[in-house]
């Protein structure tokens, strides 16, 4: 095997191996565990950076391993997967640092960090998968490795949330499995290719292909939290903040959205999807999700629940971009994959800081928090403005491309949806920002635990700061050749290559 085959495996192994070792360490071997975690995360970033460089000079990183007939385990680093992998790698490092600070002195950290690494392993694998089967394998692995994280606290509520999560995720996975097998019996093993591979299918099979498409969307939609498959997501908020952060920004929700992108572009092909007439329904579902999520978020009193509904809404931007199709909308959808991740993780980090340092969990407890924790709330503010789509944040860039993409595809109503959602975002985010900065703080915080010199411990403080700066940079420097936008454009160039 050459380096070209090893590299994808190494990228996966860089989190798998630390994760596996952690299980066998003692609960009290904190230093070693931390070192392993951070080393794994850093190595992963380096490997991904190397891979990015390689792919940009047209190196082909792929590895294939036959499991059984028609079932190949195959990894391939294409532009789209690298986008996702890079996101996962960077945010994993930050989340790990954050989690180390967040879970200081809490029990079962070994279990937590073990599964945390495995969760990222699954995400990375899913990003690098080069056929539906490999994708499916990692998708299911993701479900399993997230469950222990969701129920980490072990309280009755978290157990209930875990059950609900499993109910949805596993059912979705089962439907997905059926669809994948069905597709395979119709057209043989399905590899991802830049322009989709089903366009040449016998027209007699179109009916089946439509049904399979619907099943695939349902399967991925569960994780992507498309309405009405979103029920589990707000419940899963009982998990510790780093988990929510990872869940919403990178791992679970994003995996679903990524799956939909793969299906539409790399399996069916955008053109063929339009021919089948499945794009408009998908776009409608996404639109309904966007509006519904935003609308529900307005009425949430619990901060994390509000953020959860916001995620439901925001992730569907990706789906919407995908479903509108056309190069510009696709760019918007794909770039939002990264942008939403960065912004949402900031929000969750900040929410976690509030809960951990001040005991603030409800929206109405946030009054004056900006004075007590200025850096955290500054990060929160930037990310929230990004969510609304205020220029020059990352959110604006995504929204802009979605908007002009919709115009390009003559789907004018989509612009209405975007605007309505932005307004709703403003309605549920701006009062928080106002309360944080301009309202006077209470006499005593619900559960204040001072940590160290800064407003909270450095491990909790810097991750949101970094992601907030990223949120700004991704927007301000969107035109740079190394920005997410540029990479998304490159991907789109491949998808729409003649």
């Amino acid at each position: 095997m050459t380096i070209h085959q090893w590299l994808p495996l190494l990228v996966i192994a860089s989190s798998l191996i630390p994760g596996s070792i952690i299980f066998f360490l003692g609960e009290q071997q904190i230093k070693l565990r931390t070192a392993l975690n951070l080393a794994g995360a850093v190595v992963k970033i380096l490997l991904v950076a190397f891979m990015l460089w390689g792919v940009s000079i047209n190196q082909d990183y792929q590895v294939r391993y036959g499991l059984v007939e028609g079932l190949d385990f195959a990894l391939h680093a294409d532009a789209l997967s690298l986008l996702f992998v890079s996101l996962a790698a960077v945010l994993w490092l930050l989340t790990t640092i954050y989690a180390i600070g967040y879970l200081e002195d809490s029990p079962h950290r070994r279990r937590f960090f073990g599964f945390f690494s495995l969760c990222v392993t699954a995400t990375t694998g899913l990003a690098l998968a080069s056929n539906l089967l490999t994708f499916l394998i990692f998708y299911e692995m993701l479900t399993l490795t997230t469950y222990p994280l969701v129920i980490h606290r072990g309280t009755p509520e978290s157990l209930r949330a875990g059950r609900l999560y499993l109910l949805f995720a596993l059912t979705g996975g089962a439907i997905l499995l059926l669809a994948v097998v069905w597709l395979q019996t119709l057209v043989g093993p399905v590899e991802f290719s830049a322009t989709g591979s089903l366009a040449q299918t016998d027209p007699a099979l179109y009916g089946s292909l439509r049904l399979i498409f619907a099943m695939l969307i349902v399967g991925f939609g569960v994780k992507a939290a498309l309405v009405p498959l979103h029920v589990w997501l707000p419940q899963a908020m009982v998990a510790p903040a780093p988990v929510s952060a990872l869940l919403h920004a990178v791992a679970v929700v994003k995996a679903g959205a990524f799956g939909i992108v793969r299906i539409v572009y790399d399996v069916y092909g955008a053109e063929f999807c339009r021919q089948l007439g499945v794009m408009i329904p998908l776009a409608l579902v996404a639109a309904v999700t966007i509006l519904y999520g935003s609308l529900r978020a307005v009425y949430q009193e619990d901060l994390k629940r509000r953020l959860a509904f916001s995620t439901i809404s925001q992730v569907s931007y990706i789906v919407l971009g995908t479903a509108i199709a056309g190069p510009l909308a696709t760019t918007g959808g794909i770039v939002h994959l990264v942008h939403q991740g960065v912004m949402k993780i900031t929000l969750f980090f900040a929410a976690g800081n509030l809960a951990e340092t001040l005991g603030v969990k409800k929206v109405d407890q946030m009054r004056g928090s900006g004075r007590r924790m200025p850096v955290t709330m500054a990060a929160f503010t930037i990310a929230a403005l990004g969510m609304i789509g205020i220029p020059p944040t990352a959110g604006f860039v995504s929204k802009w491309y979605l908007g002009i993409g919709a115009a390009q595809a003559d789907q004018w109503w989509v612009i209405g949806v975007l605007v309505a959602s932005s307004v709703l975002n403003a309605i549920y985010f701006l009062p928080l920002i106002y309360a944080a900065w301009f309202a006077s703080p209470p006499d005593a915080w619900p559960d204040e635990r001072p940590r160290g010199w800064f407003e909270t411990s450095p491990a909790l403080l810097f991750p949101p700061l970094i992601t907030a700066v990223l949120t700004l940079l991704l927007g301000v420097l969107a035109g740079l050749p190394i920005s997410a936008l540029d990479w998304a454009k490159l991907i789109v160039l491949q998808e729409y290559a003649p």
Binding site: P374, I390, S422, G479
Partner: protein, 583 residues
């Protein structure tokens, strides 16, 4: 060099804002903040240029052009003045860091808007300015300020969305965001009217054209005086700048749009003045005066859309107007702060009173002031509009009357010495004010001397003088009559009349109240009824369906999983298999 100046102008306020956050409190920092807009003034003096900045946002273009230059100059100068004024005005404010932070951010946005040459960066700076200004508006945290801030924010976000939609569609129609291409291509696109509708509405909110003006009379009085000055003097002009950037001015006639602009402009001009006269807060009066003045600006735009060939004239008239209104309005706002202080001497009081009166009347077009040039320019530029000639001939002088009445009201409210002043009159406040007030007069002579503007606007021909002066005289007479009548009337009647007052923000107030009522009702629907329904379903499941299922399973298990049943099934299966095999 120019580029360095440009970047300095944009980055310095942002950097200073970052420093202010750390609550560093040094005299050097305070001085730096006061001077932060200075690079902008310098930049307004360099020849026009444009640079491409592909890495910034969506392939940005920044630069100074003939139009932007004027806006930049006024804006930077006003911010500079406001910066000086603020350092004195807020010297004893414990929360001045907060003010300075938002002040700098707003400044960065406002200066940026004037040099943005493409839609995305324009929108970015525009938003930065608009959102940061929120912090200025609610600075003192009074209930009225908070409410004003809320309305401001709602309308700003609304405007933001309109602009977003408009720009998205404009980009789709024209394939570019660079303004110079955009407006010309937009003129020919089939969706022109929709795009223009969205963009004009978006900019109209900032400009304060009725009926989109609601935030303005609420926000301007709420903000601290230096902030009000830039809000009224500089920031609302960005709405005009936006219109100039996207409208295909001088290219084609758009009769529908011109009608809309003219009607709305005139309405705004007259109505705002009338409402403004009922105000008791001098800053509110000034705010309505701004709305009213922006109505005139809208009339100009309408005129340009009727007669494209007249655009060069109208355009320069507008620029003169921008400069004049910016300077005069800022001076008047500063004046509110100055007039309220304890005068050190009678001489000072006279001087200040004279300055205030001069500036106020300049706004009404008093000959010899910059306002005269502006007014004349306006009159010339709107002449010869086929269908509107008759109406304008009457309406424009009428606006002069209303404006004069409005500024009279202002002067009545702030007249130095009428109330016991409080606070010391500090040079930091007087110098910026004095500078601006002098500019109001001096500007006229500068304009005369410069060939920048049409020489006709600055000739002091008797006929022009008379046309400018008679509305003012009528208004002064009217004002005098009102004062006299008020003296004569019994006290209870004046009190009763004085009680009649339109709240700041007029139309918005009932609207907001309705929205809040609706929201409360909606909240009840979603928050209470939905869980109830699902709880009922859950109850039904737990109490009937599940127990029945369990019962049935128990019965099945009992009858299936025992030796007897198994023995029988064994035979049954064997026979079945045999039969199946044989068929």
């Amino acid at each position: 060099m120019n580029q360095i100046l440009l970047w300095t102008m944009l980055v310095v306020p942002l950097l200073l804002a970052a420093v202010v956050v750390t609550r560093a409190d040094s005299p050097i920092l305070a001085r730096l903040i006061a001077w932060a807009a200075f690079p902008g003034v310098l930049l307004a003096l360099v020849p026009p240029f444009q640079i491409e900045v592909p890495w910034l946002l969506l392939d940005s273009r920044l630069g100074v052009d003939a139009v932007g230059r004027v806006f930049l100059g006024v804006t930077a100068a006003l911010w500079l003045a406001a910066g000086w004024y603020a350092s004195a005005y807020l010297a004893n404010d414990a929360r001045r860091h907060v003010f300075q932070f938002f002040f700098l951010l707003t400044m960065a946005g406002n200066l940026g808007v004037t040099v943005a040459q493409d839609g995305a960066s324009f929108l970015a700076f525009f938003t930065l300015m608009s959102l940061a200004a929120y912090g200025l508006i609610i600075h003192d945290h009074r209930a009225a300020s908070t409410r004003a801030g809320r309305v401001y924010l709602m309308m700003t976000i609304g405007g933001e969305m309109l602009l977003f939609m408009g720009l998205v569609m404009a980009f789709h129609e024209t394939g570019t965001l660079v303004f110079s291409d955009l407006s010309s291509k937009l003129a020919l696109s089939p969706l022109r009217d929709v795009v223009l509708g969205l963009l004009l509405a978006g900019f109209g909110i900032k400009l304060g054209v009725m009926p989109l003006h609601g935030w303005l009379p609420m926000a301007h009085p709420a903000a601290p005086t230096p902030a009000s000055a830039v809000l009224s003097g500089a920031m609302i002009k960005t709405g005009l700048l936006g219109c100039l950037r996207v409208l295909p001015l001088g290219m084609i006639a758009l009769p529908t749009w011109s009608d809309i602009c003219l009607v709305l402009g005139l309405l705004t001009c007259l109505l705002a003045a009338l409402i403004g006269m009922t105000q008791r807060n001098p800053k509110a009066v000034l705010a309505y005066s701004s709305v009213s003045q922006m109505g005139l600006v809208t009339v100009c735009l309408g005129a340009a859309l009727v007669k494209p060939q007249a655009w060069p004239v109208i355009g320069s008239a507008l620029l003169v107007w921008v400069v004049h209104h910016g300077v005069a309005k800022a001076a008047l706002f500063f004046g509110v702060g100055i007039a309220g202080t304890r005068m050190p001497s009678a001489t000072a009081r006279y001087l200040i009173t004279a300055g205030l009166v001069l500036t106020a009347l300049s706004l009404a077009g008093l000959p010899g002031t910059m306002g005269f040039a502006a007014k004349t320019a306006l009159k010339y530029s709107t002449a010869n509009l086929e269908s509107w000639n008759e109406a304008l001939a009457w309406l424009l002088p009428l606006t002069s009357v209303t404006t004069t009445l409005l500024v009279s009201r202002y002067l009545w409210l702030v007249w130095p010495g009428r109330h016991a002043g409080h606070g010391r009159l500090s040079p930091g406040m007087v110098i910026p004010w004095g500078g601006l007030s002098m500019t109001v007069v001096a500007g006229f002579f500068v304009m005369r001397w410069q060939t920048l503007v049409n020489p006709a606007w600055t000739t002091l021909a008797p006929s022009d003088l008379w046309i400018a002066v008679w509305p003012i005289l009528i208004a002064v007479a009217l004002a005098g009559t009102v004062i006299l009548v008020a003296r004569i009337l019994p006290t209870n009647v004046t009190v009763m009349l004085a009680a009649f007052r339109i709240p700041e923000g007029d139309l918005v107030i009932p609207l907001i109240a309705t929205i809040y009522r609706l929201r409360r009702r909606r909240y009840r629907v979603t928050a209470v009824q939905l869980p109830q329904r699902s709880r009922r379903l859950q109850q039904a499941l737990e109490e009937t369906v599940v127990p029945r299922l369990v019962q049935w399973l128990d019965r099945m298990t009992r009858s299936l999983e025992n030796d007897l049943a198994a023995g029988l099934l064994l035979v049954l299966l064997a026979v079945a298999m045999l039969l199946i095999s044989m068929t």
